[in-house]
Symmetry: D3
Subunit: 318 residues, 6 copies
């Protein structure tokens, strides 16, 4: 079996070559992969700013900074895991339902091959076809969502599908097991006093930023791990979970969020969870400054997700 | 009758106040208006870059630089014309057909009141509902289109409605009189040798940038005037008609275009035409630099259009 | 009585319409308002960077992201409060004293109508005419100032009026009750060892950033509340109170400041205070990145101020 | 006598060293200089955008690209001319009349030493103290003004001194000989039909951009040379003379202007004129993109002015 | 034989997928290719600005806008030509001579396979290893250089290899036939009166921008064609040939240059020339604005070069 | 003896004058100086982004915001210390070893005059010639390095000298006393599990960011002070020690870093240490946003270093 890994940065500089994630091979050879970076450049579901279609490009660009050994988790990712950059799933800009079908069938193929996708968004509306694909193969999933918004509104402008309604739809379609699912980080102004209650009515556990600040990051991580247990899990990471100082390049930023280090701690805290898929979404490169801090942060979140998958492989290898 | 005009810039500075076009009153009082600036912040129809939803904001912001007397046409616009900033017509982001209905019915109300709309886009897909509204009141129209693309492709991704197909649809729906219509400025790479022929098959006259460069700007203006004659006309101005140096903030820029001064000459050349409506589209502020040259250029195009309407009023007043 | 509130974002998208604060009505109908957003686009008093004249535009632009329910304070702002966007008070760029007169008389009208102004600056020199207007109606006020600079220098270049001398002038003119006033957050390099002592000599309590870090945010909030008591209060919030990572778009940034969340906590901590007016100043959009984090932060501060006013109304309604 | 010239770029790279104009010595030794670069970082007179106070810094920064031999004029500038970077004259931000006094007395010292100043603005309001200083030494001057605005309005907001009124004031004060003076390039919207007539009433010749386009650049240059003749001349170059594509970083840009090459041709065409002083004004670096094209253009204009002075020296040396 | 061509933009949107040039396959299969895009991300040879190492990424990113049919030359490029994106040749940042060896040997392989490389720079110092590779296979070449600088200085800081000396070295090494070579577009300030004479002494024909303006673009094209004749030719296109308004994102911009349309005309004018290799260099994305006009222009130049190769294939096919 | 100090900001505004650090005199008069700001605009050693050659310009530009009294350390810096802006040491862009010689000999002159240099980088590769110069005068030094990378790799692309290998080289050359040296803040992905062990094998103490977070900032400061003791010390501060939100404008940013305030605390904690030289490196202005937060932070770090030197002088004066 071929093992796919990044190009060697002691031989060619990191700024060189076609921009794939971490300089991984650009291939659709699912047979020889265990995890796959998959772009979903869709942004028709966004309610305020536009441009998440360029999110995968932005993340891939700056991901060339990443190196293969993760010291905080003590693992050389690619020693245990063969990873490819699968390219992007097809989308139809301007047409949500058609895009959902294409994204979903594209990702289902990945899951069926036994490969764990790390999806680069795109606006958060892509989480629905992601979950359709994952649940088709794995059954209802435990959701771990890091986000400043619950995204469980019912509709915008009378429309059911967009980046603010996606997790309500997922529950309605039976893709999630709400009793094993948790939403973390909600904050910012709302339309109505009942907005967050909606999530709880759907069966989710929900921890607002105010609540996380009360109990602390470590305790929150414990809550997440306890909630998920040994269920098959899907992690969805919206970069507006972070404070706008750390992730300005996003679609609906909310003041008062988390730091980059806290984001790392939350994802690292999921070590051991049975991750069948994940995403990092809502990166809008045109709103990022020249320092590309949002794309860099998203690349690091994807990197920590890859680490989780590698760690679990390492454990089962051992 | 109330006459609406901009705030006086010798009393309050131009950088002050809520951003309406040229500091005009923000009102929907169509009874006392003769022309209206109307935003159409829709960008779901865009095929490459995203963000034209912020076009109306960008144009309004920098339009505060404009003053009421146009020396090149020798007219004090608001002495002859009452103008309002009508605000934006409603749109449903992510849903083209619903947005078309809302844009069309919003604009039809303007036309029915005898008010000439100057529409600020938005991506070029809004031209279809614009023309539906105008034709519903005025019948089939002569189109004058300044653009680097003919926008007469049949479909993208199997979809009929987007910013590249809009004028084919308009002909199919009988909104235009192709024999009085002309498209000016096409250039740049195409999908197929037959792409521009499609426009001619629909009955349009079409002058590519190469052809305009051969015959010159003045002769082109004569061709346009001759083609339109005394028909009721609709002018659609896509800022990618300009060279990217003059209008970088657009969705599908094409190298080798026109200068800002040439853009002014083309619009000024339409003096006397029976203009029932017009637009300036495809402004993407996030792709404009800090100097806002694209928005400024679009504001000037809208200003020259207002001038045309005022000139005609002045003529009929006299 | 008319109740003014923002446009409904389930009907028209938040990115649409002329940019007023939170999509509030643009009107000067003080009779039917209880609070008013008022721009003061003045920047002639700035000593380093320039451009705060565009602060009100920047804040209004991104304020469209804000929604009407504040979950951290559990209040639907507009259920208890009628709010308008009053536009900008007139200024005379380049002339401080004339501008002071215009700003002051403009705001006094607002106060006399019993409406609480939330002023969007502008450089901090506008605090003097703000306080003249407020004190003319309400008498000497308790000042709560969040800022990295005390702004109590005596003069720059032999000149008495600018953004670094404004609170010394206010005390000299009897507009403040220093014994109920407090300045919070001073830090950064100074001209002289005695610079901060000047504030204390004027009678203010002053807590430097170093001191706040020692006692903590909660204790600081208690100190502020204790100092102000039940006096009529004016809150002045300079965005350079924040660290440059959180508010880069300001005139004289100082390293080592507060986070966005801390800013929210400080303002929220003023619940119950008898607020007769307030401002958020020193936003320079040209120095903000494309993510507009400074404007967003200022919009959120203004939003928390509106919340305070609504909460107090709700209390008195109840 | 010491001859001042730029650092040698074959010895140290052009990107190194403290940013003086062209890497000239930073000194106030007027005795050994024949021409001097002088910054006037004043922007209190600006009516729309702000920030020209950083114009001198921006121009100096990118002027390091310039090399000592001008092939279009065939002269090695510093073989014939000793040039210094004199630094900036003092200003009092926020106070026009005080600043005028300081700028004027600062520059008069330069003129009295027989040194030709090339002033880097600053907004155009600085032209008045420049002319006061020059006329005090040389008597009434022939003005050659390249600009999109005539700057002969009478007042803004009832105020006599700002960047839109400066040449009217100069005539009123007897600093200019209007019969030898010419304004070139006026265009863009105006407040009133009579705005440009005002210049002609003051005695200036005025050629609008429309007129220059009719007669051509070469003929225009001849007109300028004919008008000035052998009078002592002052050249004032406002970068908004250029089209916004070539100079976006300015305060009141006007669409439809000149190219960079045309700007060079206009200044080069003044070879032989008896230049006693000159300026390049209205550079606003915050509105320039990262490519710094406006500052680069202004640096080149200053360079062509230096060339003129050197050429004349060369002629008289020869 | 496989024919490589871009992904179909009617099936997947142009903004999707890993960024290769024009969405061509990323492969090193030289056997089935006739032309190859090759990045050379080297910038150690730059004398002023830095960052051309990101040039290939910038050009590839925006090249997704390009479509396969070139109407100005009436050719569907990929009907006649199989093209790949070969990726980047290896470089050693910080070490010029080692990089030269790697670039040269990487490109020689391409030439030996009978594939025409279109090299994306990188600073202009890469032209030397490009020419070494080409001449090793094809013998001494006719050079057509579009550039504002002749790049025939002897040394900087005592060093022989950098982006200002490269064509002198190429002549010294016998890689070029100067009698068939021509340099076009030189302008801007120089170190010494003899700088351009150096090129002529080396045997090159050289046309400055001033000279091109005198004789016109069409006559210049004829001169180039006449000079090259039927020799094997190498075209090197430095984007600083363009005016900074059209190409701000470059290392040593020179005011007064050519427009984007003129750049197209120059390259199109080479139809029929026996092109064995070519490059487009000196793109610095960090100095380009958000509209990416420099990268877009460079992508269009590369596209016109591909067109030339396809046209010649089409001719020989036919 | 002359005492050099900044220009008085109550007489001329801080935004005026040629950009030297803090408006200090630009002079090379080492006889009358005790500390000197020295730029080292070298970036040939950078492995990912490029452009640190403009770091000294960026830092000097925004350093004009700094005032002479440091309240956190209670010292008026220039009452005890005469400081100059020495300009930049010569470099040879593109040639590391030649540059090392020039930087080293340039700085050795400073040390020999008994002046403490505060070096503004430049990429981190300049630390080697800095240490060569310092050790030549002072013998082996205690290194205090704040950085996210240890920079003790052996080679990149087979090359020994670049910004990732510099401290290994310094130990090999005997310039440091590892037993008194400490590296603080390492974090981020690595190439190999042994990367950080390499530092410890060289004899350095190394505290990762994870470790600092465990023990806290104050305890870390104590560890540093304990390690250095009374040895002659060199402090090297790489701005990527900070989180990218606080310092986006750097070459190899690492998520999860320190805040600006923490950076201040670390440097302030070195009060009393026998500092013989120091630097702040890896500022890339083109990657900083318009708010210049990275340059501002670096200027503040240099300011705190100046404070340390002044404090020690004040102590010995007293």
């Amino acid at each position: 079996m071929v093992r796919y890994e990044p190009a060697n940065s002691f031989e060619t500089p990191r700024f060189s070559g076609v921009r794939t994630f971490m300089r991984l091979p650009s291939t659709q050879d699912l047979q020889n992969a265990e995890a796959a970076i998959v772009g979903a450049p869709f942004d028709t579901g966004a309610s305020f700013r536009a441009g998440a279609r360029f999110g995968p490009e932005g993340i891939r660009s700056v991901s060339h900074l990443l190196r293969p050994y993760n010291p905080s988790q003590d693992v050389s990712i690619f020693e245990h895991l063969s990873v490819i950059d699968y390219g992007d799933v097809p989308v139809v800009p301007g047409f949500i339902e058609e895009s959902y079908e294409k994204i979903s069938s594209g990702l289902e193929e990945v899951h069926r091959a036994g490969v764990v996708p790390i999806v680069l968004g795109g606006d958060h509306s892509i989480a629905l076809p992601e979950l359709r694909a994952a649940a088709a193969v794995h059954g209802p999933l435990a959701l771990v969502q890091f986000d400043s918004h619950a995204d469980t509104w019912d509709a915008y402008f009378g429309k059911k599908y967009n980046h603010g309604t996606v997790f309500r739809r997922a529950v309605e379609e039976g893709l999630l097991d709400p009793s094993r699912s948790i939403q973390v980080g909600m904050r910012g102004s709302l339309y109505d006093a009942g907005d967050l209650g909606a999530s709880r009515e759907l069966g989710f556990e929900l921890l607002t930023t105010d609540e996380v600040r009360e109990i602390g990051v470590r305790e929150t991580v414990e809550r997440v791990r306890g909630r998920v247990g040994d269920a098959k899990a899907y992690v969805s990471f919206d970069v507006d979970f972070l404070d706008p100082a750390f992730a300005p390049g996003t679609g609906t930023p909310e003041v008062g969020g988390f730091t980059g280090r806290e984001a790392q701690e939350f994802v690292r805290g999921l070590a051991g969870v049975d991750l069948v898929g994940c995403d990092v979404v809502e990166v809008y490169p045109q709103y990022d400054g020249p320092g590309q801090v949002t794309s860099l942060l998203a690349a690091n979140v994807a990197y920590e997700m890859l680490t989780l998958i590698s760690l679990r492989k390492k454990g089962s290898d051992g």
